[in-house]
Symmetry: C2
Subunit: 341 residues, 2 copies
Amino acid sequence: MNLKQLSEHLKLSQTTVSRALNGYPEVSEATRQRVLKAAQDLNYRPNTRAKGLATGRSMAIGHVIPVSTQHEMVNPVFGDFIAGAGEIYSREGYDMVLSLIADRDEASAYQDIRSRGMVDGIIVHGPVINDVRIAMLSRIGLPFVVHGRSTDVNLPYSWVDVNNRGAFERGTQFLIELGHRRIGLLNGLEHMDYAFRRRSGYERALAAQGLAPDPALMRSAEMTEIYGYRAAREMLMLGDAPTAFLCSSIITAIGVRRAVHEAGLTLARDVSVITFDDELSYLQNGDDVPIFTALRSSVRQAGRQAADMLLSLIARPKDAPGSQLLEADLIIGRSTGPAPR
Amino acid sequence: MNLKQLSEHLKLSQTTVSRALNGYPEVSEATRQRVLKAAQDLNYRPNTRAKGLATGRSMAIGHVIPVSTQHEMVNPVFGDFIAGAGEIYSREGYDMVLSLIADRDEASAYQDIRSRGMVDGIIVHGPVINDVRIAMLSRIGLPFVVHGRSTDVNLPYSWVDVNNRGAFERGTQFLIELGHRRIGLLNGLEHMDYAFRRRSGYERALAAQGLAPDPALMRSAEMTEIYGYRAAREMLMLGDAPTAFLCSSIITAIGVRRAVHEAGLTLARDVSVITFDDELSYLQNGDDVPIFTALRSSVRQAGRQAADMLLSLIARPKDAPGSQLLEADLIIGRSTGPAPR
DNA sequence: CGGGTTTTCCAAAGCGCTTTGAAAGAGGTT
DNA sequence: AACCTCTTTCAAAGCGCTTTGGAAAACCCG
């Protein structure tokens, strides 16, 4: 069933039917109702491609996931982010298209996306420090919103990010106030912008108390469970082992917990752990009392806000880029306590 | 840059340029090279929508994620599945479009997808027992592959699934052979087909040894960490507590481990745990020696196979539906041991 | 060199929609 | 009744590509 058939069936022109369907005023209410009814009955849906061709808009948003060739991990945060974004898209009638692109041919990939015209805008995931994609996309002129930010990029661009530096500064400071002096940092990959910021927050808090960061207590890797486990185990075997850990992900924190238990130690009493908590739906951090003391910020909410921002950017391309800095809450759970003596 | 401009620039007709670009034989090698070179230099990319309109194919695959209104969780398995499928798609030049659809308007949603013509085929996620979507899609005539199967659906359809029943039967049997008699089942939601099959495998193994399933030891819920924790904690407080658990997800198993530790017990020695392991990239089950004894099957691989199957179904729609049953390996880790006496 | 074959290229139609510019119809005014 | 103004409807062009049905050019061979 297409427009032509529908209009023939109604004995109206395609123009009128199209207008009736799209809510234009120059069609009488009576015929509009008649058209709507027929469309409903005959199960008519306009063809997306044809509509896109005619209007120049595709009603779809692209999400570009960089798939690193060496670390071919899917960021666990991703699922919840797009769930959030998807809520907004479906409300506004947008589709979501995913492009997994290998990092080596990113350069052409964005050009491609632009000229192939599949999407009206894109969300950029996983920005690194000084991310070239931002300049590239600005030049290309495709509306985009970055989930995160990119240090050293001085162009204006739209982003939604959590205050990573502030959060880790606060977490570190909280541990210091509990008397901890040796604090392990189990960070994500530090070429990623968020991880870079987290480390700088950690270092700032240490510096504020006159503590020197110890490279032996600072790790950076993909945030898997096993990374948390290994790093914590190794650090706990040091002569001057840390009494606390700051983790970039609840998954890593779970690995830390495993190492702590295996070493015969008890969380909070012997070793404190604070983790960043993205509020992943399948890894809730406890219910009434959180398992881990955490810096909490909902990635699903970030998805919603990024989507919202992108859609309004598409609606009003002349607007100045917006930005949104989300604060992470420090929530006290059962994994922190005063430093042992 | 569009075809018209490119052809004018080359002083050729659009036809010839199009043919040269798409590898048709009726164009001389010399002009083909010339066209290819110009396209490259001028950064020409055919417009997807226009191409789709003209060819009737959209070169995109839809993934429909049912977003339950009450349990609005994103299945953690999803990320790795699409990573696998995405590999195939990008190799074959397909895009991936995600539709999160609320379960209440599923009926119309598939019709929509079909008539809006955004995709050439779809992957159906999360089939339940007697899933109505299968009949619906068959009727609509849109190629599809189900990730999983649906008990009680008697139509032929294409699917890729892991042998859930066999896996859980084997896991249960393994525990029984270790001397366990009270075995807790921490299953996923049992209206989901995979969970239903897992339970039936569990029950079958019990029955084979003349053991009666005890409803007090069987739970069914969304596979979160906290669910594993709570369920295990409660069962461990029973008068005749289970000495082993069978978990549907490594995430749930992590919750069980937490409950076991909290109860002052030791994994393998006091309580055994076997889990299904989808080989999630951020939750590797150990490295050399697995943490958990597990039934392992890569969901990423399943994604690849489902994508492959769908693409060939699209290429040859007349083919009979195919199917692929993946076997899960039983791998021995550090979470199982002989039943304590 | 003329006729047939093959190669190379092209004009135009069509995919399903929106939208412009214009015409027809209805209603009101003098 | 003639004129004007809204309202309602329409025919046709256009979005960027593919593809059909030919035509022109090149080639081959007796």
